[in-house]
């Protein structure tokens, strides 16, 4: 019996060594997860951007259903990557809205530059005391610029594709 225990202990020793010497470096998984996130950088997931959220998923401190802009599709993609079950979007974090971009009503803009720092992708152009504009093609629709504006001149406009970008949709099933 003692013999067996010693044998087990030896196995444990081997295992311990294996665990140490074959320890994997780095965690490319973060990148893979980050690549699936919409990169809106809106912080609705309660993390300061998409990558921190990706890190949190890897660390298992966050669920996969906390990103409203990504919605069900992102959740499904994450579930597939991680080999876990999908789950509905957690409403605590907000709901998925139709894609939109910010638009500054130019005649109301007082040029306070308060909206520029919050924009995570530098999509707002403007200088102090001058009218600001949003570069629509770069705006991610994160809405972070809305709250800081003292005169509420920033509105979200839904993105309607022009005919050139129109696509067929299925009417059945």
């Amino acid at each position: 019996m003692l013999f067996l225990c010693v044998f087990f202990a030896l196995l444990g020793l081997g295992l311990g060594y294996a665990a140490r010497y074959l320890k994997v470096q780095g965690e490319p998984l973060v990148e893979q997860i980050d690549a699936l996130l919409p990169q809106t950088q809106c912080g609705q997931c309660k993390y300061p951007g998409c990558r921190p959220y990706a890190q949190a998923i890897v660390d298992e401190t966050a669920e996969i259903n906390q990103c409203p802009p990504g919605g069900e599709e992102t959740i499904a993609a994450l579930a597939n990557l991680l080999g876990v079950a999908t789950q509905p979007l957690n409403a605590e974090f907000g709901e998925t809205n139709a894609p939109a971009v910010a638009f500054i009503i130019e005649q109301d803009c007082i040029g306070c530059v308060k909206c520029i720092p919050p924009c995570p992708v530098d999509a707002i152009l403007g200088a102090s005391k001058q009218m600001h504009t949003v570069i629509a093609s770069e705006c991610t629709g994160c809405e972070l610029c809305i709250a800081p504006c003292p005169v509420d001149c920033i509105i979200m406009r839904p993105l309607a594709p022009p005919p050139g970008q129109w696509q067929w949709t299925t009417h059945h099933d």
């Binding site: 444990g12 081997g14 311990g16």
Partner: protein, 194 residues
């Protein structure tokens, strides 16, 4: 997580396994006799299905002889051989081997037979189990010498044993095996009871 040292891990596993193995060993020793007894009891009661308990007085389990392809338990009363119990196997079942327990009196009469193991089609061939039908009871007290050899066969082959609906192969295999075993017993009694 920082891995702790391998030696530490080994120590852990060693310690844990010592505890657990120790516990199991304790229980093992506590139950050892009971289990051995159970096993013995089961075997005996299985043998007793083909040979009544009061017909012999020796220790069946220790009076066993192996003659290929049979395992034979010898029953004696006051040291006189009175019967033998054969474990024999026929390969001619519908789906492979059928293992039988056959009790034969010293005078060549079958005391009883039971099927120990088979793979026959459920619902067709499995009526050879005592649980499913009492077909096997039909062998009781049949003797080889009673019947002409030709009658030791299923009805379809002109014999006197029933087959059951839809299945001839299985009963045929058993009847033939019992007959073969009986003949073997008749011819080798001396050797068996040496």
């Amino acid at each position: 997580m920082k891995p702790s040292s391998p030696a530490n891990a080994a120590l852990h596993i060693g310690l844990f396994s010592f505890m657990i193995v120790g516990l199991v060993t304790l229980v093992f020793h506590a139950t050892k006799d009971k289990i051995a007894n159970n096993e013995r009891q089961t075997l005996i009661s299985s043998l007793q299905t083909v040979l009544p308990q009061d017909s012999y007085d020796n220790d069946l389990l220790n009076d066993v002889i192996k003659i290929q392809p049979y395992t034979i338990y010898r029953a004696r009363k006051t040291n006189q051989p009175i019967a033998a119990i054969f474990i024999s196997t026929t390969p001619h079942g519908y789906n492979g081997d059928i293992r039988l327990l056959i009790g034969i009196n010293i005078d060549g009469k079958i005391t009883a037979i039971r099927v120990l193991k088979h793979k026959e089609t459920p619902g067709l061939g499995d009526k050879i189990e005592i649980k499913k039908s009492d077909w096997v009871l039909g062998f009781k007290h049949k003797s080889l010498s009673d019947m002409s050899s030709a009658q030791w066969a299923v009805k379809q082959d002109g014999g006197s044993f029933d087959q059951f609906t839809g299945a001839t192969i299985t009963p045929r295999a058993i009847v033939n095996e019992v007959k073969k075993t009986g003949l073997f017993f008749q011819q080798n009694q001396q050797v068996i009871f040496q």
